[in-house]
């Protein structure tokens, strides 16, 4: 007999005379003769967390082996967000793949868009204009900032600090306004095309960007 148990849909109220854990399916009333036995000791419990769980930021599932409250081992299941982008890409031409790259990391969509465009241009030997290069760098940097703001804000929440979350998400909204003015979308930007961009920045956009660059350091402080 093992000293380790699984707690699935079973309760283990105690050990029987032979030292085996007593198994009672949940929902079945407990036999009063069993209740009040000595506690199970030296038993490891297998506990499932996720894939949807309030404490996870996404769909990560963990199967955790516990000795009391001490984690002995964790088995992560990382496939719940797998969407087969590579396979989808096999059936599309390069410009059609750009909307897929929005979703590879939706916290920094513009940087992912640019990566795909760069790879395709490298393969084809395409050189893009200098203005386009500069705008792509601006897009990547904005993506980097908002991605890090989500990390900062949610980590603060996990540690019990609520205020940084509000500040960082407020600044993130400003960048989303910029993204919306440029691409028409707040989250799924699909900004570049192979060899260029879907659009130049609109009139007055640079002024909004400069305002963000002025204000943002103050927020960080």
């Amino acid at each position: 007999m093992s000293t380790r148990t699984v707690e699935l849909a079973l309760a283990t109220p105690g050990l029987d005379d032979a030292g085996r854990p007593i198994r009672v399916p949940l929902g079945v009333p407990l036999d009063p003769a069993v209740a009040g036995r000595r506690e199970t000791g030296e038993e490891h419990m297998l506990l499932n967390i996720g894939p949807q769980h309030p404490a996870t930021h996404g769909v990560l599932r963990l199967v955790v082996e516990l000795d009391g409250e001490v984690v002995q081992r964790v088995i992560p299941h990382v496939g719940y967000l797998h969407s087969g982008f590579e396979k989808l890409g096999e059936y599309r031409h390069y410009n059609q793949i750009i909307p897929l790259t929005d979703r590879t990391d939706y916290l920094s969509p513009m940087a992912n868009n640019v990566c795909l465009a760069l790879a395709a241009e490298k393969l084809m030997g395409i050189e893009i204009t200098e203005r386009c290069q500069v705008l792509r760098v601006v897009a990547c940097e904005l993506s980097r900032i908002i991605s890090h703001l989500v990390w900062l804000g949610t980590t603060g929440i996990d540690l019990g600090a609520f205020t940084p979350f509000l500040w960082s998400f407020n600044e993130r909204e400003t960048v989303y306004n910029l993204q919306e003015a440029w691409t028409g979308a707040r989250l799924t930007t699909s900004l570049p095309r192979i060899g260029g961009m879907m659009a130049d920045v609109p009139l007055g956009w640079e002024e909004q960007l400069r305002a963000f660059c002025r204000n943002f350091p103050n927020t960080l402080r």
Binding site: S2, V6, A9, R20, L88, K122
Partner: protein
């Protein structure tokens, strides 16, 4: 890039016939080596002074559209000190068993990378401590999704996929392997054992 060219030349000089090809494409230096010597060459690239490719950036694979062309396992190496990138390819004949030595003993980070290549392409890595699917679920029975002969919608029909999804038992979501950790499989009630054996999709193992 000079550094990468030098490394490629050094590999060719040291291992001679084990190097089956060398190209330079889009600014990347790519060396193709025979499958039975790949582990030895990768270890040499990691440990030799002057090479020091101490960082395994990625392990992936490429299946080409032409069915006669071999499937390639790709190792992207980087020397953090020398700031040099080198790509190593291992062509595997698709009519043969797709097997190559695991580099888990050289780079611990190869663990999940090789599992992903196994999951998506069906390449087996000899000596990998825990070679099982990583993105698809354990009981996935349709094959290896990133092979070119794998259709976009999968091998099973939509109705079969729907049937399996509806027959899935959300309660039996622990794999047998996870249960074996707890060594308590034998203690479970018979109906739960049956559900677990059938797996998430009711397919069996």
């Amino acid at each position: 890039m000079t550094g990468a060219r030098d490394s490629a030349a050094a590999v060719a000089a040291t291992f001679g016939p084990a190097v089956v090809g060398q190209v330079e494409s889009c600014g990347d230096v790519i060396v193709s080596v025979a499958a039975d010597r790949s582990h030895e060459i990768l270890a040499w690239l990691r440990d030799t002074t002057g090479q020091e490719f101490n960082y395994l950036t990625d392990v992936t694979a490429v299946d080409y559209r032409d069915p006669g062309q071999p499937l390639e396992v790709v190792y992207q190496l980087r020397s953090l000190r020398r700031r040099v990138d080198l790509r190593l390819k291992v062509p595997l004949d698709k009519t043969d068993s797709l097997e190559v030595d695991s580099v888990f003993d050289l780079w611990k980070g190869a663990d999940w990378l090789e599992r992903e290549v196994f999951d998506m392409f069906g390449v087996r890595f000899r000596g990998h401590p825990d070679l099982r699917r990583i993105l698809m679920w354990d009981t996935y029975a349709e094959g290896y999704p990133l092979r070119k002969d794998f259709p976009l919608r999968g091998h099973f029909s939509r109705s079969e996929q729907t049937r399996q999804a509806l027959a899935a038992n959300p309660e039996s979501h622990y794999s047998l392997e996870e249960l074996s950790i707890a060594e308590a499989y034998d203690d479970l009630p018979a109906d739960m054992r049956e559900r677990l054996q059938a797996g998430e999709r009711g397919e069996g193992r």
